[in-house]
Symmetry: C2
Amino acid sequence: MAAAPAAVALVTLGVDDLPRATRFYEEIGFAKSVSQSRDTVSFFRAGGVVLALFDRRALAEDAGLPEGGRPDFGGITLARNLSSREAVDEAFARAVTAGAAPLKTPRDVFWGGYSGYVADPDGHPIELAWNPFFPLNADGSIDLPM
Amino acid sequence: MAAAPAAVALVTLGVDDLPRATRFYEEIGFAKSVSQSRDTVSFFRAGGVVLALFDRRALAEDAGLPEGGRPDFGGITLARNLSSREAVDEAFARAVTAGAAPLKTPRDVFWGGYSGYVADPDGHPIELAWNPFFPLNADGSIDLPM
């Protein structure tokens, strides 16, 4: 199967106060998804990418980073979404071959998907994920249910 | 004039070695824009968002951050592109009213556009920019010339 073009589907910002951050992004004009947001996470349609807000420590932990993150972890992760568990495994292996550091090998995760993380050569964490709840567009972006 | 929906048009990663980082993103499948990339910056089509790579220190400086960045600056900026200088000024004022910290007041910049930066309530830098070279789509994303 030909791989979808590589894409950044989500950008997740680690935040210290989720209600405050959620209000801020609403006030500056981002459209929050009511159906997908939870007490622990907010999702916004942000043009061709999804903006997510998540607790900063929980985000570092999710990315397989040491407690509180690496010194150079600024609390932002990028996610590339893929069409299947197998596509995640493939993208993970390809990234490591290309010079990424494995942070978290792909695995089934609590939210019902399958996810792993690598760090790019400069330490920026990239999630590789299969998410059965977020429909994937042909260009690799996701069509966030609102 | 009604504002375009808020969107993240670009994600810029600060990197220590631009050729190395550029090779990495090419190898994992991102499509580099030949016409827009320069010796100092690489642009990739990344689904519905543009991924940019730029020197880490230059990125901190561009964002109006102290030399080397704030301790919590992880070397990633988000950019919202707007349709005019006036729209940038408006979005800047709206963000500050909503609780953002001004980092760099909007101004004409060396690459031929108009740009300012704010930090969101958690310190994440957001650029607000008018870029006459990157056509803006109706959803606030940009149509990167390849």
